[in-house]
């Protein structure tokens, strides 16, 4: 089933001097694992921001789960309910502990505090950090921080998980462990996983790879 459809998406910066996305057309199936690969400045992060409703196109249409994002007045609810973001540098809040960081997306959820704690602990356990739930991010290793970011991205049961270079700041071994965790939870909640990377080995782990250069899709293929 089609979850995401991009039609003629154009995004330019600096008054048209830089074209980040040049009439992109794309369709992504629900529950799939897709990698987006390309060199720096190719437009892959801009594409991820479009998919995450963080940015809007200058022209064209972005439809996610049947919702035309251009027609939404406030995209914050959409982001909270549909999207789970994982950043290259985890971006955890330094003053909050692991559990509190994971609970941030649940702040406005209509559930009791007890249920929020329970939900957060399920995902903290899933990423293997239950014993460190009361620790602040500065006491964790890079890999552990990224696992907390994964738990935070998944705690709302999003339909789409967007990961922007999730292993970019980690060594190969730790990066692989993080990807294993990411794949495991993606399969557990059957969410669509889209990973932006410039690492071909990471890209190969996905079912499908979309290659971007100069704001255009130059290759789109299935890995298995």
């Amino acid at each position: 089933m089609e979850l995401i459809r991009l039609t003629n998406v154009l995004k330019q910066y600096d008054g048209g001097a830089v074209t980040a996305l040049n009439n992109i057309n794309l369709s992504i199936e629900s529950g799939s694992f897709v990698s987006i690969i390309g060199p720096s400045g190719s437009g892959k992060s801009t594409l991820l921001n479009m998919l995450g409703a963080l940015d809007s196109p200058d022209s064209g249409q972005v439809i996610i789960n049947g919702v035309d994002l251009a027609k939404q007045k406030d995209l914050s609810d959409f982001r909270r309910q549909e999207i789970g973001f994982i950043f290259q540098l985890h971006n955890l809040l330094p003053n909050l502990n692991v559990q509190e960081n994971v609970e941030i997306p649940l702040m406005d959820a209509k559930m009791s505090e007890k249920d929020k704690h329970r939900r957060a602990l399920i995902f903290i356990e899933a990423v293997g950090l239950l014993d460190k739930r009361k620790q602040k991010p500065n006491k964790l290793s890079g890999g552990e921080r990224q696992r907390v970011a994964i738990a935070r991205a998944l705690v709302n049961f999003p339909s789409i998980i967007l990961a922007d270079e999730p292993t970019g700041a980690l060594d190969t071994k730790t990066g692989r462990k993080v990807l294993d965790v990411l794949r495991f939870v993606h399969e557990s909640i059957n969410a669509t996983l889209i990973v932006v990377t410039h690492d071909r080995d990471v890209a190969k782990l996905a079912e499908r790879t979309i290659e971007i250069r100069d704001g255009q899709v130059i290759n789109d293929y299935y890995n298995r």
């Binding site: 963080l54 982001r79 973001f85 941030i104």
Partner: protein, 333 residues
């Protein structure tokens, strides 16, 4: 305060004070005693009394507890009511004696009471009574027999004449009549005096308001600066919160809430520091010259202003933060 001043001037005291027009703060412009009887003959003047004021400068400022020096007034004991002194605790001084009645403020500053002796121009005076008029200058002075003060200060004249008008008379008209009749005198009615004090109070109020306004302005700039810096430092954090679905309104509320906590805490710390600094300051200056007054109104006002400044100072950075595009905020380093 203004009402209190007006009431104090009108209660039983003289309505008009007559001085020599050439008197500019020194002793040169005294009035002859015979002039008292002349004034009694002016239409609508019911009574008049001469008053001599002599001050003794402190030997050194640091040794004096009264920064204005010791002020002694000489007046007839039977006419004290014209000087606004109606109630005396103890007894009134005898004429031609070395007895004195002193104001309550004088007693506080010099730590004296009824029965004690005070020295003035080399003479000892026994305190036989105390009084309170509500006027700082009088409550800070001593009143003795006019004859005695004239003798020890070697003069037979008076500094001013206090004039009581007839009941129902217009003080301003009487005052004008006196000036018309006697060219070399100046007059001041009690209403003019209170008006002058009103002006002084008004100037003090304006100055106080200006200083408070400046402090509030500087404080507001400080709060805005602090909050803007806080928002800048947390730009990426705001981007993360937006990316995970926080609404602009929630971010606005968060920043404003933090501003309020910050300003309330600063209000508490400021109040404590203010009290400490004032207490230390008053001890350094000297124990009796000033007294510190803490009223709930002062603290309520200070906290009210602090919170208003906090809200005003927090609105701009909070609004700015809430309007940040998530992608811009996430890119911020």
């Amino acid at each position: 305060m203004e009402e209190s001043v007006q009431t104090t001037f009108n209660e039983g005291g003289a309505e008009i004070t007559v001085t020599n027009a050439t008197n500019i703060g020194g002793n040169s412009g005294l009035l002859d005693m015979s002039f008292i009887d002349d004034l009694k003959n002016v239409t609508n003047v019911s009574d008049a009394v001469g008053q001599l004021s002599v001050s003794e400068s402190p030997e050194s400022y640091s040794q004096s507890k009264n920064i204005m020096g010791n002020m002694f007034y000489g007046i007839n004991a039977s006419k004290l009511n014209l000087a606004g002194i109606s109630d005396v605790n103890g007894s009134i001084f005898d004429e031609n004696s070395f007895e004195a009645i002193v104001g309550v403020r004088y007693c506080e500053l010099n730590n004296v009471s009824i029965g004690d002796n005070i020295t003035f121009l080399g003479h000892d005076f026994k305190i036989v009574g105390t009084f309170e008029t509500g006027i700082v200058m009088k409550d800070n002075a001593a009143y003795i027999s006019l004859d005695t003060l004239q003798n020890i200060s070697d003069t037979q004249e008076v500094s001013s004449i206090l004039v009581k008008t007839s009941e129902g008379a217009n003080d301003t008209v009487v005052s004008q009549n006196i000036r018309d009749k006697y060219e070399n005198v100046s007059t001041l009615t009690s209403s003019e005096m209170s008006s002058m004090l009103d002006d002084v109070i008004g100037i003090l109020d304006t100055a106080s308001l200006a200083i408070s306004g400046l402090a509030i302005f500087v404080g507001a700039i400080g709060v805005v600066n602090t909050m803007v810096m806080t928002v800048y430092e947390r730009t990426k954090e705001i981007g993360v919160l937006k990316s995970i679905g926080w609404k602009s309104k929630k971010i606005l509320t968060m920043i404003l809430g933090e501003t309020l906590v910050l300003t309330t805490l600063s209000g508490i710390i400021g109040s404590i520091l203010g009290i400490l600094i004032a207490e230390i300051g008053i001890r350094l200056i000297g124990t009796n010259r000033f007294s510190l007054v803490y009223t709930p109104k002062t603290f309520i006002l200070a906290f009210g202003i602090t919170i208003i400044v906090g809200i005003i100072g927090g609105v701009y950075p909070a609004y700015k933060a809430s309007k940040l595009a998530p992608t811009e905020a996430l890119r911020y380093e």
